[in-house]
Symmetry: C2
Subunit: 246 residues, 2 copies
DNA sequence: GGCCCGCGGATTGTTGACAATCATACGAGC
DNA sequence: GCTCGTATGATTGTCAACAATCCGCGGGCC
């Protein structure tokens, strides 16, 4: 595996705002900042070793992605996702990943299946460790969309996958059964291999529905959207914010 | 139509960065800033009556949306879209709007059809004026996605629609035939009314394909993606940047 | 004559400080 | 005893100046 220098990239030089945004995004994704926590600018800036200017730029970027909500003269808060948001994330993911899968089928199917199979192997190898499995799951779907070659689908999927991780981190009451998860992904891979658009759509949508149910299992989950003047509108969950790392 | 104050909203107070971002986005969308133009920070800041701080935050937001590209220590430029980008925009739009349409069918179909019919009426009224028609077209699709009730699909669609307008503004060599456009939208509305998912998918995808062909008509347009070492990669269009409004 | 080096102008990236706004706690008034 | 007005503290929003980097151009050297 010799690195060939023929394609030499234009020296990736990311702006500090982008780097800071990546850091914060990662932290939000990993659950380091639980939903609802306020992100003080001075504290974060000091911790990351930058001034408030670049940090605020990074925040605006994250607000645009929908990960943070900004209240004027009040502060920036990590968006907290309710059941409706969980469903919405998976609806949007189904839309994006279905389109990506169709592009895969229409394009170089063999190469796509190869990449998917590799990602699947990583998942199988990490079946024991729940967090590694979540990472591999994330990587699988990211690869699925990236292989489609559509930059816009890719960007959308990246944001949605981060939100998915937020859901999992916030509501991770139980680790998902690894075998069922693997089976679903294998089936998804097969659908691409066979090149059957209808089957891919079905597999993908049922995969998403399963995921939603898994996440929303312990909570009250009315299947009909809205129109629920149910008992208690206030959230019972309000765990003390854990200490920040490093 | 008496305004009822029962639901009184939390007083919409947008941050200046968001306002500035809207302004710039609008200008890019309308073609005031042609693709490839550099946006000087001091000039823009002075023109908008804000300092460079908030302006830079707004820029980061637009970069995150993919409307601008930032070269380090070089400046911010309006992204120029090539043929592949045009196809990609419409692929993504098809994915998003299909999902939204399916949600419409599954939800309150009557209300959705009503909103779509209203938007369609606006289009019909503006059939003569090309720019008004483009606005109405934009509004129709925005309404389609907004009516789905999915905030994520909505956000994606908003960004994609702006990019669509960029394509149109940059390559508007010929006004689209209003009658064909109206017919397609009517058919789309009917598909939602009938509640036939398959038909909706077909109508929507053909609508998108038609739009792509319309835009890419005069240029060389190979139907197969990528692998085109065609003649001239550089764009002939480089009109003098028109003066800024207000 | 052609190529390399260095300088001037301009623009971006970053910083620290100033002004405006909001939440909280305390005390006066009813 | 409860409510309202006010002071205080902290945080956000904004600004102008400083430092770093890059493009274009002229002079020197080969």
């Amino acid at each position: 595996m010799s690195m060939d220098l023929t394609d030499l990239e234009p020296v990736e030089r990311r702006s500090t705002a982008a780097i800071v945004a990546d850091r914060i995004r990662e932290a939000i994704m990993r659950g380091t900042f639980p939903p609802g926590t306020q992100l003080g600018e001075v504290e974060l800036a000091g911790r990351l070793g930058v001034s408030r200017g670049p940090l605020r730029e990074a925040m605006q970027r994250l607000v645009a992605e929908g990960l943070l909500r900004s209240e004027s003269h009040r502060g920036l808060f990590v968006r907290d996702l309710d059941a409706a948001d969980v469903r919405d994330v998976y609806v949007a993911r189904a839309a994006v990943e279905r389109a990506a899968g169709l592009l895969l089928i229409a394009g170089d199917r063999a190469a796509a299946v190869q990449r998917l199979a590799d990602a699947l192997a990583v998942m199988e190898a990490a079946a024991d460790d729940p967090v590694a499995l979540a990472d591999a799951d994330h990587a699988f779907h990211a690869e699925l969309v990236a292989a489609s070659g559509s930059p816009r689908l890719r960007r959308m999927a990246d944001t949605l996958l981060v939100e998915t991780r937020m859901c999992l981190a916030a509501l991770q009451q139980t680790a998902p059964p690894a075998d069922a998860l693997l089976a679903e992904h294998r089936e998804l891979c097969d659908a691409v291999r066979d090149g059957d658009p209808g089957r891919l759509t079905n597999v993908l949508e049922s995969h998403m529905l399963d995921a939603v149910e898994r996440i929303l299992a312990p909570t009250i989950v009315p299947t009909v959207p809205s129109s629920l003047p149910s008992s208690d509108p206030k959230k019972p969950t309000d765990p003390a914010p854990p200490a920040l790392p490093a």
